[in-house]
Symmetry: C2
Subunit: 344 residues, 2 copies
């Protein structure tokens, strides 16, 4: 019997966005406005995650989720080495060196143990189904587990693994593809929701291409229990988005799905790096992430949008510079209006 | 001042599907059930179109639309010739010869003149904006003109050309990409609707990835006036879908966007032809269509699904073998229910 969804009066979930954008301030503002805020445990130490949870609880009583990466198999070291050679001159151009492309599991077990103790309202996982012991540990602490899926096959797998809800991520979504398969099915949010509804009765959290209240209404009408938005929050003042990234979102650059930055498929704005590197980038996560991290940090510091990962969903140009709480309230009001207006 | 949408009590439009699937029987069944049926003028002579309209009017008093192709520029003859060389052994294997890869405008002007006289409830265009004289001729006869768009840029162009409504075709859609650009923006239906709503107040007909009543409800909530479904009707008994195509739709083959069959981008089920030919197929419409037509006809006659164009949207596996009128009524009832259930 799946554990219940937390109460989310606005029906809006702020997507976990690791690497900076998801902040305590953003999660608090979203939660206080009746949304579900998220912290992103990825790339952080367990101690840093514990500190964030503590800070969030000090400023907000609202429920929130924490997202953890599932371990993935290592990539081919020869392909990683070849990619490093290709990257070396770019790093030199930015006055930095490449990072160490080691394979890690991002401290998966320690983070799960910590979260079983801290008991957020939800623990969600990206990159497929985590080990059975992770789901068991969280369930033993009565913490609902959300798994991310990008195809009906992954949905069946996640349901069998004991998920309490599925984050159904359409092809439109910005940032990493969250399913287990890194040669992802390219199913759009609407057909994916329809296909997933055929394989499970679990509550669905729809993600991908939802840019406004009408988009929220659309996925609720399509059978989702909640709507998860990431890109829409990237330009809120509470988000930790870098200035170059926030500025690029407001342009009409197209997006592409690339492994160039992290070794795992993710949707980003097209820039020089995606154009020149995507074809050569191997499937090797987090090796490539660690390899390119100093390069991207240098580009960010220099405000150079051409060498950074500019994660973005397909409707990125609609992301607004508006306080996150106001955005949540507006999305809910627009969604209610849209559902009423659509009746016939 | 745009001409009004026809009354469509079910909010469901059956997409025009040239080359066989759209029949008089399908349009009549859809129209009689409160949907908007479509005839597809593409690939047919003006006389055959006139005869279809007459037959439809003899069996149904319901309004219907007719779809016409806009003329497109010719492809590179050298690339077409090279592609023909690649195709020759495949045609021989099926005991046939290739067709003549000439460039035509599919009798555009004659069809528009005919339809200005016959005055269906709607004339829609695929492959971008038709010549100004076509829009003017239809408007002079008070026939509303719908233009197909796949990006906000195309939407602005179509609105400026005098469209009365826009068919907003998401990346999920089966069959040909209907916009002007054959290097199509790959925007999913949901973000595309949100982006197009920002550039025009015209009524929108959403297409792509709509597989059931919840999908219909979703696009209405997202701001569309009507929902257009194609693949969902392919397995109805009234559709003229070939048996091999209908059978393949019910499998979980993935889809891909390919120019292999017609020289213009279209979403089809993956088969041997898409796997082996997509990379080499030039942008040359209708030259490649005419080149491969005998080959595909032979494959169809032999029931060989590997050498045919198996047009399909991303949710094709949900297409059901159910009478078209029953499908329209069910879609409308499910959509109403979904909109009510989603309220919060």
């Amino acid at each position: 019997m799946p554990l219940d969804l937390p109460a989310v009066p606005s029906r809006v979930v702020a997507a976990p966005m690791a690497g900076g954008p998801s902040t305590v301030e953003l999660a608090a503002a979203v939660g206080d406005a009746g949304g579900l805020g998220s912290l992103a445990a990825g790339y952080r130490t367990p101690a840093a995650v514990a500190e964030e949870v503590e800070r969030l609880r000090a400023v907000s009583a609202a429920p929130f989720g924490v997202n953890v990466f599932s371990p993935v198999p290592p990539g081919d070291p020869a392909r990683v080495a070849a990619y490093a050679e290709l990257l070396a001159p770019r790093a030199a151009g930015l006055g930095t060196a490449l990072g160490e492309p080691v394979h890690t599991d991002d401290d998966h077990d320690a983070k799960v143990a910590l979260l079983a103790e801290l008991r957020p309202a939800v623990v969600s996982f990206a990159f497929g189904v985590p080990p059975a012991r992770s789901v068991e540990a969280l369930h033993a602490a009565d913490v609902p587990v959300w798994l991310t899926v990008t195809s009906p096959e992954e949905a069946a797998e996640a349901a069998a693994a004991g998920a309490d809800a599925l984050v159904v991520q359409g092809w439109e979504a910005g940032g990493h593809r969250g399913g287990s398969d890194d040669e992802p099915a390219q199913l759009g949010t609407l057909p994916l929701l329809a296909l997933v509804r055929r394989v499970t009765d679990l509550p669905l959290v729809a993600a991908g291409g939802i840019a406004d209240g009408q988009g929220v209404a659309a996925v609720l009408a399509a059978g989702a229990a909640l709507a998860q938005l990431g890109t829409a929050f990237l330009r809120t003042p509470e988000a930790g988005t870098s200035p170059a990234h926030a500025a690029a979102l407001a342009t009409d650059r197209p997006t592409t799905v690339t492994r160039a930055f992290t070794g795992r498929s993710a949707r980003a704005l097209v820039n020089r790096a995606t154009a020149e590197l995507s074809a050569a980038a191997p499937a090797a996560y987090p090796e490539v992430h660690l390899l390119t991290a100093p390069l991207r940090a240098a580009a960010r510091a220099a405000g150079d949008a051409e060498e950074m990962h500019l994660w973005a969903g397909e409707a990125h140009v609609l992301a607004e510079e508006v306080p996150a709480g106001e955005l949540v309230r507006r999305l809910a009001a627009e969604a209610r209006e849209a559902l009423a207006a659509a009746r016939f």
